[in-house]
Every structure is written in structure tokens, then in C-alpha cells.
Symmetry: C2
Subunit: 448 residues, 2 copies
């Protein structure tokens, strides 16, 4: 696979605007914030993810000689722009919520403070990185909450939207509490535990299902999981029972069977009975196939004897909400707060902070969205993570991010999945700043 | 951005199965086909895309020394597997529908014929490549059909699921008939025309909207499009009218204005009137913001004076159907047809062909799904594209693929978007092959 060059993976208009900024001397400090305007319908929270890849991108963004040459040859850009890009290094500051933090509508999870052309240039790919991992972590967190104690595994690579999505879905779902992934590269790149069973093609390539089971068991004795739904699920479960003693003599245990089709609760119950009666009480049941958080809730309600679940499409595409209504907006330029006022898309201006209040048991009660230097009750969620284009301190390990996410989920109020949404209050200071920004706009507008 | 290594971007179980295949001598010729089980609800056709990247992947798939070393160190795989991967070259045959071809449920768009371990190894990434581009081309084709004569542009990179999706969405939508994309890299990699305007941040960074328009116009005079909805859309349109004569003196024409929020039809009509009254009858109106094919239908119904449309999220996430119910299934092994018989997921076995009958005007009437060597009326859709692991002949240019897609869309029967689905008939020969496969299974099953 050809590597995707990062610097040109952006919208044409970013370079057009930078050229115009340079030509007109608009190079003062700009502040942009990335936030989600609305939590998707039927959701009550989001989980921040993707910051590490965003910082990687900012630290490593360079234009190669070949890229500059190509840009020059398009005939679209002047020498000043090409020179600027040739020397480009991101030198700004980043403030952000730690990955794994829960957040709500209008709360920024990342703030960029940098000379305007720099902050503009990074817009497209920053959104591309943050949106997707946040989308998947938020979806995965719902599944984790609904299926406590179950082994949840990302099976989504094949239905993910391309290579990058497949890899990043493994990371984001692991942060949210999944046990691991089937994607091998995620183990190599991120150290995420991988899980794997077998495909129907394996069974079908043998003339005999039991023969296929035995061949696989002998070739791959560790963590043995046998796929039993290729022909007749219950008959296959009985074949596993018949095979198990012979495997045991070779020191091989059937750790689990997997069911990938049919009524999974009904089949899990009958297979559980067959395994138990056959002395395979320790053999788990793993299921997969079109599962989302509603299916997981059904399993719980129906008391399906299911130990592990492979989840693909609904996780990696966030099928009920395949995108977030997110934005990266200019909040301040050259020391003055800015905001868009257009219909339905007005935003809060200025550098912001989020304050979270919890009750005595540590449960989240409410947030306040304020200007950066306000003082409110609760703890602040946005912290500096990059200065002068370099990270501040070592980045937390994936293990630590995951532990933080787990603590966050434990703080959710009980009714978080109800139609009542979590209260996010806008501070008086922010209201005043918005009014000041609008007054300034109106005054400038009224100039002769 | 770190390049994503291709060979390990797969499911763990593929390597586990290959080890078991090698250990048990299951290395005969296998035939797998990729198809979609069901066309998504509210859709009546799909458009094949992604074949070129699939063939690139197959031709270039290698395991690097570093990857093999890492695989060895996981302790999961034996020396036979590592040796096999070290020498891996895809040497099989590929048959496929040309990109841009319309297809329906159960019709394979790609067939792999190769030694079983090879055909198994490529499963995950082949699905990952074909599914996504097919998804986007199919969505884009609906938009193209609904908005004939409009300039449609892919604006989706930021909301796409990662880097790869952003780039490939540009390609797939261009195949389906989009005029181009905002994604600069798509121009460099694929030669797709790029389009770009400006962001609200550009306007907001200036104290004065008209000043921002003029600065941008002077810095980027070619194909000038001004974004007019940052504060008050109609007021901004009047500013454009006021500015235009001064720009004209410098030889700069305002090619279009862009509106990104509010009631787009209403605003387009009032802006059209302002522009026309101001002598800017040649200045087009470009809109964007949360648009999908239903919005496009509304524009047409309301006779909105809109010339071009930027479409992002709904296109690149295929928002109404963010995944296809697709599969890559073993159809034949060692000369015998195979099929999965499990509940709700039974498949047609063997190597297949699709025959398409058209009426005298060239309109599609019906398809027949048959075994490979059947003879039926109509033209065949599946052709050889790779033999011995190498492409047969030069691959068609993107221009030619796009022309093919345009011809395909012109062949759609008028009622294609009605609830009545296009008839795909299963040939007698295929029914007989399925029955034979089942009889053979049953016989083998009944062995003592």
C-alpha cells in the first residue's frame, strides 16, 4: 500500500486562504477550538479520542520537496506561499481534554493557538483525526456500559472506511474499554491485545466439519475458539463435545465456540446446554454478526449465556450516527474574540474552559462552559499539552488513557442514557464576551 | 503521518487459518467471490468501485523483514508460516466487474481464484478496499442522478473516517459523476479536479467583511468564490455587488458566491435577485452544509437557483447506509462447489457470471445470476483482469471509468428509485449447483 502523504491531505481552500493571509499580512495569533455542536440523537455523551494522533500530526507536519514542486507546478500558488510551506513548522500551543474524557455539546476538546496561517493549515486533518476516533470511542463506550463483564472485541477492519479507519477504530474502542481487536496491525502499532477465531471458509474448505475443527486445533492450540455455525450450529456443538476428549489428551482445551448467525440468544442457550452436558462447562460462548448496543441490551435482558462478543460494522462506522456535527472555529484573532453569527450556526467566542462538578460519590452533576480565566466550582477539563510546537511532557500510555476512560464512565449519572440531557451551563462571562464580540462587529460594520 | 504498512493490516485469524491450512495441506485452488447480500433499504442499485486499488494491493502485497521479525516474536506462529509469508507473492486470477458498473444483490463484483492460503490472506483488506469505494460511488451516483447539470463537489475529507477514506471518497465520487473534490491530494494522486472557496475563519479574521472579500479576491483572483453567510447573507451579497466593479477594473470576476447555512433555497433566491439586480448575472451560487440527495431533490422541486453544491458528510460516510452487507465467501475448493448453509446467510456456490439484458433503447431490464460457463441472453458483466498475479492489459483511466459510469447511469430504468427492486434471476444451473453442493455435504456428513 502506498503511504498517504500527510501535508497535501487537506482542502485546497486552506492553501488558498494562507496565500491570501500572507499577502494581506493576516499573520497575528489566532485561536481555534474543535467542538461538537450537538450530541447525536439517542446519545447523551461523547468520549474524546484521537489527541495523540493529532499531536503526532502537528509535530511532524512538513512539506517535502516533491510536494512543493507539485504545488508550484499546479500554477495556482505564488512564490511567497511556496516559501512559507517549505519552511513550515507548527510552532503553536495546544490545549485539550485528555483522551478518554467524557464531554458534551459546545465543549471544546482541543484548542489551537498559533499564527493564523498555521492554525488554518491544520484544520482539515485535525478534524479528520479527532472526529473519527471520538466517534468510535463514544460508540464503543455505550457498548461497554451496556455489557459489563463481557469480553468485547473489535471485528470491524473489513467494514471500516479504509485502512486508517480500521486501525484507528481498534485504538479508539480499546480506549473506551473493549478488550481488544482482531486487527493485527493494532497490536504491532499500539500494543492492543488481538483476538481471532476462524472463518467459515476454513470449515468449508474441508469435506468434514469435525476434521476442520481438529486440523485447526492442532495447528493453533492456544486460545482455541471453534466456529460452529457453518452448517448446523447444534450439531457442530455436539461435534466439539465429541472431539474435546481427544484434544485434551494432547493438552488442548477448547476455550470457546463462536456463533456468527441465527438467533444468537436461542443458539447460545442450546449450545451452552450441549457443552455443559458434554463436560465442557469451561468452554465459553463467543458471538458475532451484526451486533450493536441494542443487541447487547437484548442479550442482557434475555440472559443469553454469552461470554464474548465480536463487534464490527456498528462500531467502526458508528452506524446510528456515522459523523459528529463538529467544527473547528476561529474564536479569537489578534486579541479580539470572534464568532460566526450565521443562522443556526452561531458559536461562543474566545478561549474557553470547561468546569465539571461531581457529587460526593464522584458522579457527574453538571458542567460550566466559561471563558478561559474564569473561576468556577469543580475541576477544569482543558489543559495545555503542547507549547512551541512540542509536546509538554510525556504522553500518557494507552493503558493509562484506558484507565482514565474507565473512571470517567464510572462517573456518569445513572440517567445518562435517558432522554434528559446532561446540563451544560454557559457562564455569564462567556455570554458577556459574546455580546462584546457582537457589539464590536456591529460597530465595525457601521463604519462609513 | 506514518505510512500504514499493508501486509499486517489484516485480521489475526487470517494468519491463524493460513498456518492451519499449511499444516494440514489445504493448499488447493480456492475460489472466493465478493458480493453484497442486500442492497441497503431505500436504495435500488449499487455502483462497483475500488478495483484498481484492490489490484494494486494484490500486486504489491509483501511482508517486510521487520514485519516477519515482529510476527516471529509474537510467539504465535510457526516457522512454516513465517517462511511462507517471507516468500509471499499473490499468483492468482481475478475476475471482476469494471469499476463504474451498476450491480445488485448477490452479484459478485470480484472473484479470486488462487491457492487457498493466498485467497484467504487477502480477504480482509480486499473487503476493506472494495466496500468503501463501492459505498461512496453508490451514494454519489444517487446525487448525480437527482441533480443533473449541477456542479457537485466532494467536500468530505474532514468528516471522512480517517485519511484513506478522505482520499478514496474523492476518487469514488468522481467516478460516479461528481465534478471534483476539495481534497488537494486527490488531484496529485488521481488527477481529479479540485475546487475550493474560503472558510468563515477567513472572513472573521478581518474586522470588515468587504475588506476580507477584497483581500481574498486580490490574492486568489482565479475562479473566485466568496463565502457570504458569515454574518448576514443578503447584506454580504450586496457587499459583493458593491465590490465587483472595482475588482472588474483589475480584471477579476466574481465567479460565484457560496452560502453554507440557513434555508438554502430561500437565501439562494434572494441572493440571486441581489446579484442580478447588481449586474452580476454571471456570478453563480454555490451552496454547502449538511446536504444529501433528499436536499438535492428539494432544491429541484423548489427551483432553487443553485449552480453548484459541496457535499461532505452524507457522501463520505454514506450516512443512510454507512456499510454494505457484503461478504467474501468461499465458493469452490479443490474443484468442488462450497457454500455456507447457516441460518439467514446461505450463499450461492461456484464461479458465477452475471448476464444483463437491456431493451432496444439500451435500458436495463433484468439480470441473470448464473454459473460461470452458462449461456444466457444479454451481455456478461464479469471479466478476467488479473492472471498469475499480474494485471491483464492496461487499467482504464479514471476518465474512461467515469465515462463508463455515466453510460451505466443512463441505462437505469426510470423506476429505479421506486420501491420495486430490479429483477435478478438465479439461473437453473446455479440452483442445480447449489443442490449438488448440498447433496455432497449431506453425503460427507453421513459418513460413519
Amino acid at each position: 500500500m502506498e503511504p498517504v502523504p500527510g501535508a497535501l491531505l487537506t482542502d485546497l481552500y486552506q492553501l488558498a486562504m494562507i496565500q491570501a493571509y500572507l499577502d494581506s499580512g493576516q499573520t497575528d495569533t489566532a485561536v481555534f477550538e474543535f467542538f461538537v455542536r450537538k450530541v447525536p440523537p439517542q446519545r447523551n455523551f461523547l468520549m474524546a479520542a484521537g489527541l495523540e494522533q493529532a499531536l503526532d500530526y502537528l509535530e511532524n507536519l512538513r512539506f517535502s520537496a516533491a510536494e512543493l514542486d507539485w504545488l508550484g507546478k499546479t500554477g495556482r500558488f505564488n512564490a511567497r506561499l511556496i516559501d512559507y510551506l517549505a519552511n513550515f513548522r507548527f510552532s503553536g500551543e495546544i490545549h485539550a481534554m485528555p483522551e478518554g474524557t467524557l464531554f458534551f455539546q459546545n465543549e471544546p476538546i482541543l484548542r489551537v493557538t498559533a499564527p493564523l496561517p498555521q492554525a488554518q493549515l491544520v484544520e482539515t486533518r485535525l478534524i479528520n483525526i479527532l472526529q473519527y476516533q471520538t466517534l468510535v470511542a463514544s460508540k464503543a463506550a455505550r457498548m461497554v456500559l451496556i455489557a459489563p463483564g463481557k469480553l468485547l472485541v473489535d471485528f470491524g477492519l473489513r467494514r471500516a472506511h479504509g485502512a486508517d479507519a480500521g486501525l484507528m477504530a481498534a485504538r479508539a474502542s480499546y480506549i473506551a474499554g473493549f478488550a481488544g481487536t482482531a486487527t493485527l496491525l493494532a497490536e504491532k502499532v499500539f500494543g492492543i491485545p488481538t483476538y481471532g477465531t476462524m472463518a467459515h471458509s476454513f470449515i468449508q474448505s474441508f469435506d468434514d466439519e469435525a476434521e476442520a475443527f481438529e486440523a485447526f486445533a492442532r495447528a493453533r492450540p492456544q486460545n482455541l475458539t471453534l466456529l460452529i455455525d457453518t452448517y448446523d450450529t447444534e450439531a457442530a456443538a455436539r461435534k466439539v463435545v465429541a472431539l474435546a476428549p481427544r484434544l485434551k489428551q494432547s493438552g488442548i482445551a477448547v476455550q470457546a465456540v463462536r456463533i456468527d448467525s441465527g438467533d444468537l440468544t436461542v443458539l447460545a442457550k442450546s449450545v451452552r446446554a450441549i457443552l455443559d452436558a458434554g463436560g465442557l462447562g469451561d468452554t465459553g460462548i463467543f458471538v458475532s454478526g451484526g451486533i450493536d448496543e441494542d443487541t447487547l441490551a437484548t442479550f442482557a435482558r434475555e440472559k443469553a449465556p454469552i461470554d464474548g462478543i465480536g463487534i464490527g460494522t456498528s462500531l467502526v462506522t458508528s452506524s446510528d450516527a456515522p459523523a459528529l456535527d463538529c467544527a473547528y472555529k476561529l474564536q479569537e484573532y489578534a486579541g479580539f474574540p470572534r464568532r460566526k453569527r450565521s443562522t443556526g450556526k452561531a458559536t461562543w467566542p474566545g478561549r474557553k474552559q470547561v468546569w465539571r462538578r461531581c457529587d460526593r460519590e464522584g458522579r457527574m452533576m453538571s458542567d460550566i462552559l466559561s471563558t478561559e480565566n474564569d473561576a468556577h466550582e469543580g475541576k477544569t477539563l482543558i489543559h495545555p499539552v503542547m507549547a512551541g510546537g512540542r509536546r509538554i511532557g510525556p504522553y500518557p500510555s494507552l493503558h493509562d488513557i484506558r484507565a482514565h476512560a474507565r473512571r470517567e464512565l464510572a462517573r456518569l449519572p445513572g440517567a445518562i442514557d435517558s432522554p434528559v440531557s446532561y446540563p451544560v451551563q454557559v457562564s455569564q462571562s462567556l455570554g458577556q464576551l459574546a455580546a462584546a464580540a457582537d457589539r464590536r462587529s456591529d460597530l465595525l460594520e457601521a463604519r462609513p
